[in-house]
């Protein structure tokens, strides 16, 4: 049979890239970054919705990065850098989709004439 005996190009498989230390650090950070936002919102210690919103947004963002690095083991070497490239591309599209939609639709809402709804309600412009 014709089986070319080529060693697979990737020297760094997902199995060998696993490190227990990374997992431990990730676990501790993930627990902190989950507990603090819930505590902030449920106790209402800050008395300011905007500061709280900014803080929990930042912590959610940080937790996503922690999970990607420590649990999914994204780095520059895996699969010759293709996982990182795919991830960065996806991140760009995700940010464009979410931020773009909200931005455009917010302005659309804000510039609309108030319209009477069946329930007699006016569309809230935030």
């Amino acid at each position: 049979m014709s089986q070319p005996s080529i060693a697979p190009e990737t020297a760094h498989g997902a199995t060998s890239g696993h490190s227990q230390r990374g997992y431990r650090i990730g676990t501790i950070l993930a627990i902190i970054l989950t507990a603090v936002p819930f505590w902030l919102v449920m106790s209402g210690v800050l008395h300011d919705a905007q500061t709280t919103a900014a803080l929990i947004f930042a912590m959610g963002f940080a937790q996503i990065i922690v999970h990607v690095l420590c649990f999914l083991h994204l780095d520059t070497r895996s699969e010759g850098g293709w996982t990182l490239l795919a991830f960065l591309f996806t991140t760009v599209i995700v940010v464009l989709t979410i931020a773009g939609s909200i931005w455009v639709m917010y302005h659309l809402n804000a510039n609309m004439m108030p319209m009477p709804m069946p329930g007699g309600l006016v569309i809230p412009a935030h």
């Binding site: 070319p4 697979p8 498989g13 199995t15 997992y23 989950t34 709280t52 999970h67 996806t90």
Partner: protein, 211 residues
């Protein structure tokens, strides 16, 4: 016979070696990369659902507001269950690499139970909301909420099914190279769902109650 089937570039045909090569840990590369690309495309599905939710999150149509219907203690418990399941899956990883079947099955079963608890609480939450008249047909906000959270829940349910299949297969095949590859893909899938949930509890539940 040998020569004319070989492609000029040595790197090109290496992907179909993944099934054949039992010894090389790098043989998982193509499958892992392919699964990663699937996860990225799944992330795009969730991105569009998040975008939809972000656009209509204040369109209550005179119906229930988020702070009236969301119970944060329940959401916190749910979040803790899913995060714990991600951590217990992490506990299985060194056992998978070392080829210890019993320990792998134990941590996988714990992960599955935590995931089942998550789905149970989510179904309870959905049924309570629908019983209160806050079903998906009530307002654009609730439609988007049920679509986004329901899609995530469907993914977790598939993950539970997958864990069940792997548990059975571990009994039959042990930790062979294909099984290790499947477990790596499953762990990526499970961690990915936890990442999506970070977005859900931050942007849907916490932001919703905050306003």
């Amino acid at each position: 016979m040998t020569d004319h089937t070989r492609l000029p570039s040595d790197a090109a045909p290496s992907w179909h070696l993944a099934e054949d090569d039992d010894h090389d840990s790098g043989g998982n590369g193509a499958t892992v990369l392919g699964f990663w690309i699937y996860l990225m495309s799944d992330a795009l599905i969730f991105a569009s659902l998040f975008a939809m939710f972000g656009v209509v999150r204040t369109n209550y149509a005179g119906g229930q507001m988020p702070h009236e219907i969301f119970e944060l203690p329940l959401v916190a418990l749910n979040t803790a269950l899913l995060l714990a399941s991600s951590i217990t899956f992490g506990q299985a990883m060194p056992h998978i690499e070392a080829g210890r079947v019993r320990a792998t099955r134990f941590w996988l079963a714990v992960t599955g139970l935590l995931g089942a608890g998550f789905i149970g609480i989510e179904l309870y939450e959905f049924s309570t909301l629908i019983a209160e008249g806050a079903g998906p047909q009530r307002s654009a906000f609730l439609s988007a909420f049920f679509t986004l959270v329901g899609t995530h829940g469907a993914h977790v349910t598939i993950g539970l099914l997958w864990i069940g299949v792997i548990l059975v297969q571990l009994g039959q095949h042990g930790l062979s190279q294909p099984m290790k590859r499947r477990l790596i893909c499953l762990s990526m899938f499970w961690h990915f769902l936890d990442i999506i949930w970070i977005g859900v509890f931050t942007f849907v539940y916490l932001f919703g109650v905050l306003r």
